[in-house]
């Protein structure tokens, strides 16, 4: 048989591919922490089994993320222990969950808290409790170690994420002018964390405008500047700048002092805080308890979870607010809340990729990547010698509509996402496939609230913050932005409101706001 040239080339290249596949390391892994099935039971209003047991309790907290755990922390700290916290997942923590393997602990989502300013009283109080803040000093080992951030652009590395290399005169001028604009908004005192403290209607019109439009009207057309603004919006809101309100875009940059100290972080990210909160409140926490129905009653509400009906005087609803119409009887549909779909992946690396021109950093970002890059969990290790590590890879599916992206997120299999992530990393780390031995992926259809234009100034949002109801809402989405400080703020505020209304409880002076 005569082998044609084309056929020969075909077979030999197939053989070559076969060889290269053979030499590639096998990467294990799966989807983890899936809560989509349980969530869809609620969405599709499937019937749940009736309750067989009734428990009377003054208070039920729905949801064990940072909001719910912070409410519990405040209650127990005030000596009030008679409540239950119901968490639908096996592990409490919500967006501050973490995992651990033989190498290190690692985050599943939120991985740092910026140094809280003086207005973030509750955060400072918590960090004092946890030994993070001592005598006005931040514990050094909880501050992000140097080098903190690096950006890969134009084939090389630079320190920091704001592009500082390959800028034209125009780029520099615009970055400078934008910083001055942000400084003015910062000085106004209207952009604070927690958001509620400084919020005023003075800048409400900013919330009606997409961030990109605001940038364009101000004459910011630098490509690198717009990349950086988009990166910031994707990082904090899971959204592109065009889907973010200008108010929220400005808030990202104007709500904090330009701190050189860098954020607080831990190998397992904010999971470190979750663990310590749980240590203090675990007696009240019930995991694997999905609340399927809340029925308001004359003296409170009945909360149904599994086979138990909790007859409570008060409910703190710390779960994402979009769930309320699916759980609470006769709750009107919500208009304001939009959520961004995300995925995070934890990659176990048997060795670090060969990298020239940069030392391993805490946070690594690639210019023009649709993803957010990765964070190295062993960066906060005290060890000097690190050969194996875990990277947490972040990807907010921002381009396109949230519902389309949720569809993509859920319909594609693990192998699809594994390849997508490796391809993104391969742009910079050519040998990444030889380094990774495992990749676990967590998909979150409603990872965080998205401050689309109109969210921050929405009346619905303000109405939901009312503390004079029997059901008090407390998720971070009440602020329109999903960050640790907002979640903690609403959790603590709701707990304090309940304590006041239960009456006669010890209320520390100066505590109420």
């Amino acid at each position: 048989m005569k082998i044609g040239r084309r056929q020969f080339l075909g077979t030999s290249s197939a053989a070559l591919i076969g060889l290269s596949l053979k030499s590639e390391k096998k990467i294990e892994g799966s989807f983890v922490n899936e809560s989509v099935v349980a969530g869809h039971l609620l969405r599709d209003r499937k019937p749940f089994p009736p309750a067989r047991q009734t428990i009377k309790t003054p208070l039920v907290i729905v949801g064990g993320g940072i909001s719910g755990l912070s409410a519990a922390w405040r209650l127990r700290k005030r000596g009030f222990n008679d409540f239950v916290l119901l968490e639908m997942n096996a592990q409490a923590g919500g967006n501050a969950r973490s995992g651990e393997n033989e190498i290190t602990a690692y985050p599943w989502a939120a991985h740092y808290v910026p140094i809280p300013g003086p207005k973030a009283e509750y955060v400072r109080e918590l960090f004092t409790d946890l030994g993070v803040l001592q005598d006005g000093q931040w514990e050094e080992r909880y501050l992000a170690f140097a080098p903190q951030e690096r950006l890969f652009l134009y084939g090389r590395w630079q320190d920091g994420i704001e592009p500082s290399f390959g800028l034209t005169q125009k780029d520099r001028e615009q970055f400078q002018r934008l910083e001055e604009a942000f400084a003015k908004y910062r000085a106004s005192g209207a952009f604070t964390v927690p958001l509620e403290i400084g919020y005023s209607n003075k800048f409400a019109e900013l919330d009606q405008t997409p961030f990109t439009d605001w940038l364009a009207t101000q004459g910011f057309d630098s490509r690198l500047l717009n990349w950086y603004m988009n990166y910031a919006c994707r990082d904090d809101y899971g959204a592109l700048a065009r889907d973010t309100s200008a108010w929220a875009g400005i808030h990202y940059f104007s709500s904090r002092e330009a701190e050189e100290k860098g954020p607080l972080t831990w190998p397992e990210g904010n999971g470190w805080i979750t663990k310590r909160l749980l240590k203090r409140v675990h007696e009240n926490v019930r995991t694997d308890q999905m609340v399927n129905k809340i029925v308001p009653t004359a003296r409170g509400a009945s909360v149904f979870a599994g086979e138990i009906e909790y007859q409570a005087k008060f409910v703190i609803f710390s779960a994402p607010t979009f769930l309320a119409p699916y759980i609470i009887d006769d709750f009107p549909p919500l208009k304001t809340f939009v959520y961004s779909p995300w995925l995070t992946a934890n990659l176990t690396l048997e060795r670090l990729p060969v990298t020239r021109g940069a030392e391993p950093s805490w946070d690594t970002v690639f210019l023009d990547s649709p993803t957010l890059g990765y964070v190295d969990a062993t960066h906060q290790s005290l060890r000097t010698h690190i050969d194996r590590t875990v990277w947490t890879f972040y990807w907010a599916l921002a381009d396109g509509t949230p519902s389309q992206n949720r569809q993509t997120l859920l319909s594609s299999d693990w192998n699809f996402w594994k390849e997508a992530i490796l391809k993104d990393l391969e742009r910079v780390h050519k040998d990444i496939r030889q380094c990774v031995s495992r990749m676990d992926i967590m998909r979150m259809g409603h990872a965080m609230v998205r401050p689309v234009p109109g969210t921050i100034s929405s009346e619905e949002r303000v109405k939901l913050k009312r503390r004079d109801q029997r059901i008090l809402f407390a998720n971070s989405d009440l602020s329109g932005i999903s960050i640790f400080e907002e979640a903690q703020f609403h959790g603590v505020e709701a707990a304090q409101a309940v304590l006041r209304r239960l009456g006669g409880t010890r209320n520390a002076p100066g505590e109420s706001r």
């Binding site: 501050l143 100290k261 030392e359 000097t384 010698h385």
Partner: protein, 498 residues
């Protein structure tokens, strides 16, 4: 034919002498006492050659073929002899067994060469001419080799590659002989294939040797590399020139055996002698055991804990004869406990208290090492210090890295400690700095252990005086989140090299 044949003799003779010289040189480099080493190596080699000559009478058939095989064997054994000796020195106790075994094997093979060659050519010339020509070229080759060895080979190729290079010549002679004696030869193909394999092996060795000693290292290390190893944690290199033994970790000089006593006496005694009640001492880093050697000079110290990351480092310095001569077997002392651990987590988790703590890490050349020079680290270490205790920190050069030195002083100060910086002159390092730190005032000791070579009680207060060009400069403290020291250090040394 004539001239080619006698050129073969010349090359063969040169190889033989080179292997002998290499064995002698390595033995005297590694073990010292060069007169003894050279004379026993030469004696054994010549004796083995005699043995080879005696054995040659038992070889009767296929002389040419046998000669080629001998060349190939000699190429392999001689070619890798250097590498094998270095390896034996590093990894086994039986260096001398390997040395003399190699010398005997090489000697026997060399001893077979000339008698066989003479018999191969005996029919072509008269006996008188054979003896005259062969021996002439034999001695000529020896002269060439003895001149090449010190002038060209050792300075430019080094021991490992010189041996491999001459192994190639042996194998080359074998290959060439298959052509030279082609008419009388059977199985030429097999022989040539064997030659090819041996040539590849040796050429591979040369390439690999270049890798082992990393291309750049030839420039970094002035002296012969006698040990090079990539451990899990670092790249360890030992070099030797005459009586000067040097240790390099990741290409940074750690000590020179000529003047390390200055460094280690200065590191230990100003502090430890000032804590006369000291019973427990902690050493962080210092896996070479040289600081421990100084500490063990205090009879009242009954427990020394050494924490060093790299087990291969502490093993090397507790088993190798030349190195245990240097540290006086300090790592085998019953008073010493060796812990192979990463220092920061160990310090963080351990709860013991110590009267004196020696911190002797490599300079802060990267962010990983930089963690060991931070306020967070010093605070953690200070928790282990007994009330009247002191710690001492090797703090790079206040002359060449002045900002770095004073940054370390400030870091210790910010960690809540009183600091007492001092400096000494170590010829191989230049001016070198240390910082004593504790929670109370330092008073220089009035007595020291006997038999110190560098320090005396009168001299100690002088070490604490800094001339203006090394004097204090205001620097920020080094913290985990800023790591200012790493950048400062990089800049300091950049300035020096320009």
């Amino acid at each position: 034919m004539n001239i080619l044949l006698f050129l073969t003799v010349l090359l063969v003779a040169a190889c033989a002498l080179i292997y002998e010289l290499i064995a002698g040189t390595i033995a005297s480099y590694l073990v010292g006492d060069s007169v003894f080493q050279f004379s026993t190596v030469i004696g054994t080699y010549l004796f083995a050659m005699g043995l080879g000559s005696a054995l040659s009478r038992y070889l009767n058939k296929g002389l040419i073929q046998r000669f080629i095989w001998i060349e190939l064997m000699l190429g392999v054994v001689g070619g890798f002899s250097s590498a094998a000796l270095m390896w034996a020195f590093a990894f086994s106790e039986g260096f001398h067994i390997v040395l003399y075994a190699l010398v005997i094997v090489m000697g026997v093979l060399v001893g077979l060469e000339i008698p066989l060659l003479m018999r191969i050519v005996k029919d072509r010339y008269s006996f008188r001419d054979v003896v005259a020509h062969v021996l002439t070229f034999d001695y000529l080759g020896a002269l060439g080799a003895s001149l090449l060895f010190p002038i060209l080979l050792i300075p430019h190729l080094g021991l490992i590659r010189s041996a491999l290079f001459f192994g190639l010549i042996n194998a080359g002679v074998a290959l060439w002989s298959t052509f030279l004696f082609a008419p009388q030869l059977m199985e030429k193909r097999t022989l040539r294939a064997a030659c090819f394999v041996v040539l590849c092996l040796l050429a591979g060795g040369i390439v690999k040797a270049k890798q082992i000693t990393a291309t750049a290292e030839d420039n970094i290390y002035a002296d012969e590399i006698i040990f090079a190893r990539d451990t899990r944690y670092q790249h360890i290199v030992l070099t030797r020139f005459k009586d000067d033994l040097r240790l390099f970790l990741n290409s940074h000089l750690q000590f020179s055996s000529r003047d390390e006593y200055r460094y280690h006496e200065a590191l230990v005694h100003p502090g430890l002698a000032a804590v006369p009640f000291a019973k427990t001492v902690l050493v962080l880093g210092g896996g070479d055991g040289l600081a421990v050697r100084e500490i063990l000079k205090y009879p009242q110290v009954d427990k020394v804990t050494l924490v060093d990351l790299d087990p291969e480092m502490t093993k090397l310095f507790s088993t190798q004869s030349m190195l245990i001569n240097l540290n006086q077997k300090s790592l085998s002392s019953p008073r010493l406990q060796v812990i192979n651990a990463d220092a920061f987590p160990w310090v963080d988790q351990n709860t013991q208290s110590f009267d004196f703590i020696v911190i002797d890490f490599p300079d802060p050349t990267n962010y990983a090492l930089g963690k060991l020079y931070t306020t967070a680290f010093y605070r953690a270490v200070a928790r282990h210090l007994s009330a009247q205790g002191f710690m001492v920190v090797q703090s790079t050069s206040p002359m060449f890295a002045r900002d770095s030195f004073w940054c370390i002083v400030e870091t210790l100060h910010k960690s809540g400690l009183q600091t007492f910086p001092y400096h000494v002159y170590v010829p191989s390092f230049g001016e070198w700095g240390f910082v004593l730190a504790g929670t109370h005032e330092y008073v220089a000791p009035t007595s020291l252990p006997s038999a110190l070579r560098f320090l005396n009680p009168e001299g100690i207060p002088l070490l604490f005086q800094f001339p203006p060009d090394m004097g204090p400069v205001p620097m920020p403290a080094n913290q985990l989140n800023t790591q200012v020291l790493v950048r400062t250090y990089e800049n300091d040394w950049k300035d020096i090299s320009h």
